[in-house]
């Protein structure tokens, strides 16, 4: 669903100053970098990490929402949720393909996810505890994803930028659908209202943490900005998101769980209270409430599916062998 402030990428590169300057000039001229172009190793590595993390996030993100497909309270919602979760899988697929243009295979990336070397968005390490979570995730998590991803449609790396254009259209549909679920609940019975307020209370802070650490504490931002992989800083994106979301919550008479949230006339945006960075880092480092379960579920699917993948390969081999043998037999 989303890409978080990049975790642990190392953008250093050792190419000659002339090469780096020429590359920078191409980027500055807004020329898209394509798979066969020369690029600094650090640029390539940063993108592999970022696109890989993004792809993994889409795939792991299928789990918390998939948790409610079988319990969706109406057939219309069930179908919409199934379609949404399927879209996320599709996003994963385009993103893995974009990363493959940089010379890593999907299999390799999958193995890194399963053995814990690769990260994915921490937001998916929180549990979905009620139907309202499905609405809140669409509204806030897909909403935050859009804030992050719209600028990525102009990312300097062509295949990533193009994947993002397609993904963003679907994410904004998810966001509207999520808001519509939330609206129904907020205007529903007292139990439905309580359910949606509870979900908002649990997801608000994790959602605004999705933009990553404050700019002052974000190590990899500068190089990514210079290479136009990133166009806005974490704090800029977070601010845009909050400014867009507060009125939407007010419209539904929902309370955002931040007593310090108030309009700041001077900056023309909302101020918010302190973010619990200890929690952020704890979850990023793999100690989120659902972290172990998410990876375990992905690993189980992968391991349980191994015989299927092997069979498909074996069958393809047999077919090929038969096709090669057939003309000879006819002679």
């Amino acid at each position: 669903m989303y890409s978080q402030g990049l975790i642990g990428a190392d953008g250093r590169s050792e190419e000659t100053p002339e090469f780096l300057a020429a590359f920078q000039a191409r980027v500055d001229a807004e020329t898209k970098i394509e798979p066969n172009d020369d690029m600094p190793e650090g640029y390539r590595r940063t993108l592999v990490r970022q696109i890989g993390q993004h792809a993994h996030s889409e795939i792991v993100g299928m789990l918390p929402e998939g948790n409610w497909i079988t319990r969706a309270p109406s057939l219309r919602r069930k179908a919409a949720l199934l379609a949404k979760v399927q879209d996320e899988g599709g996003h994963g697929l385009y993103l893995y393909s974009a990363a493959e243009t940089l010379g890593v295979s999907r299999k390799q990336m999958t193995e890194e996810l399963l053995d814990g070397r690769a990260k994915y968005s921490s937001i998916f390490n929180y549990p979905t505890l009620s139907w309202a979570d499905i609405g809140i995730i669409g509204w806030l998590v897909d909403g935050a994803a859009i804030m992050n991803q719209i600028p990525l449609c102009r990312c300097s790396y062509g295949p990533y930028a193009r994947a993002m254009i397609r993904v963003c259209k679907e994410e904004s549909f998810h966001q509207r659908q999520g808001y519509e679920i939330v609206m129904k609940l907020a205007q529903g019975t007292p139990e439905q209202k309580a359910m949606v307020q509870d979900a908002l209370n649990r997801w608000w802070w994790p959602s605004i943490m999705m933009f990553g650490p404050h700019d002052a504490d974000s190590q990899h931002s500068d190089q990514s900005m210079a290479w136009k992989i990133k166009r806005f800083t974490n704090d800029e994106l977070r601010q845009k998101f909050i400014d867009a979301t507060v009125p939407q919550a007010e419209y539904l008479d929902l309370t955002l769980p931040d007593p310090d949230l108030k309009w700041n006339e001077e900056k023309g945006g909302y101020d918010h209270g302190p973010i619990d960075w200890d929690e952020f880092w704890r979850v990023v480092k793999g100690f989120g409430p659902m972290a172990k379960d998410r990876v375990k579920a992905r690993k189980k699917a992968w391991d349980d599916g191994e015989w299927v993948r092997e069979a498909a390969l074996a069958h393809a081999e047999k077919r090929k062998a038969r096709a090669q043998a057939a003309p000879m037999a006819a002679e």
Binding site: I69, T70, S74, T189, V308
Partner: protein, 244 residues
């Protein structure tokens, strides 16, 4: 009420199968199947919705698709035993899909000329989807049957365990005498031809069970259906009268 009952049977088949297939979402053996299975689930759930909607209108008691799907218990569900069978593994899941689609494709094809326009409309959409399901599930049955030793064994197990539910497909059930719906018994030959074509390529043999399991059409199900419905209906039933 024969038409209402017959529509419910069909709708229940589609919803229950869609539910089972949707249980795979996010847990498939490969990403391509994580896209294909929700797709198939969406097809049959979409058809179920149209059928419930129409059934509700035919009944004329003001029940909508959700009343029919969420507020009936397991003894009132009328689906085939085949579609409620648990996923077990990918081989069982694909074979169940092939068996169902190999039946529904000729069924909807026959329904294209129904005197009932709503049924015609539902059939027009479903017939294309069922052709895709036969192709997709059929290709997997072939790959697994003619893949590795393990996949061939699992495929043969699936044939063993699901074939006893085939006979029920051809029972007329509530549709007996409903002339706007096709005869189910008449579909047997075409069903068998489709399955045999796939099985030949997969190196599998189909044997009709001498003792087919039935009961779904009278609401006598396996033990799994009650659990499925308890899960499916839990949120809806916890909030009577709420809208979503």
């Amino acid at each position: 009420m024969a038409l209402f009952d017959a529509l419910l049977e069909l709708a229940d088949d589609h919803l229950v199968l869609g539910h089972r297939v949707s249980e795979w979402c996010g847990h498939a053996p490969m990403l391509e199947e994580d896209l294909a299975m929700p797709n198939m689930a969406l097809d049959v759930i979409g058809t179920a919705r149209s059928l419930y909607d129409y059934a509700g209108k035919v009944e004329g008691a003001g029940r909508d698709e959700d009343d029919l799907a969420y507020l009936r218990g397991e003894r009132e569900y009328r689906n085939l035993l085949l579609v409620e069978r648990p996923n077990e593994d990918f081989a069982h899941t694909m074979l169940r899909q092939l068996y169902f689609a190999a039946f529904m494709h000729p069924y909807w094809t026959a329904a294209l000329t129904s005197q009932d326009e709503t049924i015609q409309g539902i059939a027009g959409k479903a017939v294309k989807e069922m052709a895709y399901h036969i192709r997709h599930a059929g290709e997997w049955v072939v790959r697994l049957g003619d893949g590795t030793e393990e996949s061939a064994r699992r495929m043969a197990d699936a044939v063993q365990s699901l074939s006893i539910y085939v006979g029920e497909l051809f029972e007329e059930g509530a549709a007996e005498g409903v002339d706007v719906l096709p005869s189910r018994a008449a579909i047997r030959d075409e069903w068998l031809a489709t399955v045999k074509r796939v099985f030949d390529e997969a190196g599998l043999t189909f044997e009709d069970s001498k003792f087919p399991q039935t009961g779904g059409r009278s609401g006598v199900h396996g033990e799994g259906l009650g659990h499925m419905l308890a899960e499916m209906q839990s949120v809806h039933r916890a909030h009577p009268g709420a809208t979503w």
